[in-house]
């Protein structure tokens, strides 16, 4: 059975990369230039979810508008809520805070100078004193000066004070992930660094509908949360989103598509890629994939993923961040310890059963994607090598 399982999986592995070639053949839109690199369309097509009926009137919104809506709801209901960060006053570099300063006043929506460590430290202080603090870090790549504040201060405040103090009303938002032209410092996915830190929560939505619900849950949550927003989806993802507030629970993964042969796990932008792969796998090779959107990285829904792997017997995790120490390794090692998996499988799990890599479904010519997943940590900005996908 293990052999069969291994073989079955190997089929999937091969399938995945061949799919990438098929997609290239079926043609992303190629825009040849007289000189210079060729540009392809984005590496996926965003599929909107169905309009929800349970939360009242909806409005067509893209990702940044759904974030604005969530922040608007928060500022109107919570008189202690404040939003701050670099350039948030005029609306933010991604337009996430447009109109809020005019509506709620400059004492509630204000700019900070260029100092991430200061922004987060300040945010922790605001939260400890009892206000709801929503701090924006302009790009997730710039969060590292604030790493000490997040890990050493925010995450440990409740614990070290014996629950006397906490900064639970702090939420940090940051644009996250590849965008096609971001290179080294505008494309990073640092969720794995924060996954190693108990005391905070890390959440990554895949769409406007998810983003608003999850962001409102993060703000409500009594723990400091980091909310990463996939920047490539800011304009590309459009859905009907309820105008009123609604909450999507944290630490609950969602099974987007039931399947029986293999479990595909991803979060953020990559969910859309693996959804496409799942469709192609079904059409071309008759492989039934179960697609899971993890949503919350820390604390993650171990039960949902393990339950799915027990059902299908195979797991494939895909993320943009580098392989070594990436969050996939955490998921993989946890799944391998599950008792419910039969012995024969658990043996092959260590090497063959549980495979994880990044963007296997990419057109193999999408070198910029591959370059970011180099084995030994590689962060590299070949943003002008051939075949770069266009930005939205």
């Amino acid at each position: 059975m293990a052999a069969a399982a291994g073989l079955g999986l190997r089929r999937v592995l091969v399938l995945a990369s061949r799919l990438g070639q098929l997609r290239a053949g079926m043609g992303g839109r190629l825009l040849p230039l007289a000189a210079g690199p060729r540009r392809h369309a984005a590496h996926f097509t965003f599929q909107p979810d169905a309009e929800p009926s349970a939360h009242g009137q909806t409005q067509k919104m893209n990702l940044f508008q759904s974030i604005t809506s969530a922040l608007d709801n928060t500022l109107s209901r919570d008189p202690t809520a404040v939003i701050f960060g670099e350039d948030v006053a005029f609306g933010g570099v991604f337009r996430c805070t447009v109109g809020l300063r005019d509506k709620y006043g400059k004492d509630r929506v204000f700019n900070t100078p260029l100092c991430e460590q200061g922004i987060v430290g300040f945010g922790i202080g605001v939260a400890v004193a009892g206000a709801t603090a929503i701090a924006e870090i302009q790009f997730a790549d710039y969060i590292f000066p604030a790493f000490d504040q997040i890990v050493n201060e925010a995450a440990k405040y409740r614990y070290r004070s014996g629950d006397l103090f906490n900064c639970g009303s702090l939420t940090i938002r940051a644009p996250w992930g590849c965008v096609g032209h971001g290179a080294l410092y505008h494309s990073q996915s640092p969720e794995a660094f924060f996954a190693h830190c108990p005391g905070i929560k890390v959440v990554i939505p895949r769409s406007p509908l998810q983003a608003k619900g999850l962001l409102l849950s993060c703000i409500e949550d009594k723990n400091p949360c980091i909310f990463f927003e996939p920047k490539i989806l800011y304009r590309a993802a459009v859905e009907q989103v309820p105008v009123e507030p609604y909450y999507i629970p944290l630490s609950q993964a969602e099974v987007l598509q039931e399947g029986s042969d293999v479990t595909l796990v991803a979060w953020g932008t990559q969910v859309h890629v693996i959804r496409e792969v799942a469709t192609m796998a079904q059409e071309k090779l008759g492989v039934s994939c179960e697609v899971i959107d993890l949503k919350t990285i820390l604390p993650w829904d171990t039960e949902a993923v393990c339950k799915s792997v027990v059902k299908t017997g195979r797991l494939l995790i895909s993320h943009e961040a580098p392989l070594t120490g990436g969050f996939a390794s955490e998921i993989s090692s946890t799944v391998q310890e599950v008792d419910a998996l039969p012995d024969t499988r658990s043996k092959s799990v260590t090497g063959k059963l549980c495979e994880l890599w990044h963007s296997p479904t990419m057109d193999p010519n999408l070198h910029w994607k591959k370059s970011r997943t180099l084995h030994s940590n590689g962060r590299w900005p070949p943003h002008h090598l051939p075949s770069i996908p266009t930005e939205y």
Partner: protein, 396 residues
């Protein structure tokens, strides 16, 4: 001279056919460069001082040769930036592109005062500095377009260019300042009488690590000149809205500082000479604030007019443009003529065109280079690509 005029006069009197030929052409064609003066002295703006008794001199001597050289270099940088703008709009350059037109006097002035063996490090608005530190324009443009003829082999792009004694080209603002102090420490340690010029912007001036660096540099008397290029806007935020104290030259607190008119190349040169002398004599670091201006927005995706008015940009362009300032000075004191400078313009334009041609036709780096330069390792090791069957060799 008289013979010339006589010839001109006779031609004029010869008749309509000859009269149609403009006399002035004859005069210009035979003018020789011995007519120019060899040097001139100019008054420059006095610098504001912090913790200093005396500042840089208020007059500067400019020789004809220096003037022409500065003019050529500034004009090259200006044309190069405008060319990059054009190539970006044609989508031949992609990614991020931060242009420094308007700030040419800073790069050329600093280079005029420092030695080639001195070191310089700055943030991402670096194209001018890359050039003044010795990289030819064609390599810079090729780097912008991502070709292997680029100075970083096409792997760095606009924000990550490096050159001889030029340490980049850094993306995270403020992070290059402790690096600069480290370079200064190495200079002091090796005892080769070198200094390090560490640049940052008005936005980055509020980063915590800069103050940590000030402390270390002052404590250990490092030969480091901290230079704040204050172009009044940190991306879209004006300095008044970002900083409690906009006197950036005083922000070093215990470090002496000078505030310099960054649009006047002579002012920058004299101030840098003064600061370099201070550092080389072992007195410790110094802080310079260069008051300058950028015409373009923060980057190519910023139109640059939502946080400042077009009138403001126009005003600076007409009153304080560094190239025009130098040109006027040179022409008015007979160091050069408008025509000679125009000739330089034409040559520079051609040079930029050739460089752009190279930049658009040079091949891109090969795929085999993808895994290189991650670690220094012998022998080369294999690096995994996005799937387990794709491997790249990492050579360094």
């Amino acid at each position: 001279m008289r013979k010339m005029l006589l010839a001109a006069l006779s031609r004029v009197l010869q008749g309509p056919a000859a009269a149609a030929r403009p006399v002035s052409r004859v005069v210009v064609a035979s003018r020789n460069y011995a007519d120019f003066t060899s040097e001139a002295t100019f008054d420059i703006k006095k610098c504001d001082l912090h913790l200093l008794e005396e500042g840089p001199p208020v007059t500067a001597v400019l020789t004809r040769e220096e003037g022409l050289r500065y003019y050529r270099t500034m004009h090259t940088i200006r044309r190069m930036e405008l060319k990059s703008d054009q190539l970006y709009k044609q989508k031949i350059i992609r990614g991020f592109c931060h242009l420094c037109d308007g700030q040419e006097a800073c790069c050329v002035g600093l280079q005029a005062a420092m030695k080639q063996t001195d070191h310089l490090i700055t943030a991402y608005r670096a194209h001018g500095y890359v050039h003044t530190r010795g990289t030819p324009v064609r390599e810079i443009l090729a780097e912008l377009t991502g070709r292997k003829g680029g100075c970083a082999k096409g792997k760095g792009g606009s924000m990550h260019m490096y050159g001889p004694n030029f340490y980049g080209g850094n993306g995270i603002v403020g992070a290059q300042v402790p690096l600069g102090a480290g370079i200064a420490l190495a200079c002091k340690y090796f005892g080769k009488d070198e200094i390090c010029l560490t640049l940052y912007g008005d936005g980055a001036a509020n980063q915590g690590q800069i103050f940590e660096t000030y402390n270390m540099a002052a404590l250990w008397k490092l030969p480091c000149i901290f230079i704040c290029e204050n172009n009044r806007y940190g991306m879209g935020t004006s300095v008044e809205r970002a900083a409690a104290s906009t006197d950036y030259y005083k922000r070093g607190d215990y470090i002496p500082g000078i505030r310099v008119d960054g649009m006047d190349i002579l002012c920058v040169r004299e101030a840098t000479k003064f600061a370099a002398e201070h550092c080389r004599s072992g007195k410790g670091p110094m802080l310079m604030e260069l008051q300058t201006y950028r015409y373009h927005g923060h980057s190519m995706s910023d139109p640059g007019i939502s946080y400042r008015t077009r009138e403001e940009i126009q005003e600076v362009r007409s009153k304080s443009d560094p190239i025009t300032l130098l040109k006027d000075r040179m022409v008015n004191s007979n160091l050069s003529s408008v025509e000679e400078l125009k000739e330089i313009d034409v040559e520079v334009r051609k040079e930029i065109e050739d460089a752009a041609q190279f930049a658009t036709t040079d091949p891109e780096p090969p795929l085999e280079d993808l895994g290189n330069h991650i670690y220094k390792n012998e022998p080369p090791f294999e690096v995994r690509g996005p799937s387990q069957w794709i491997k790249y060799k990492s050579v360094c």
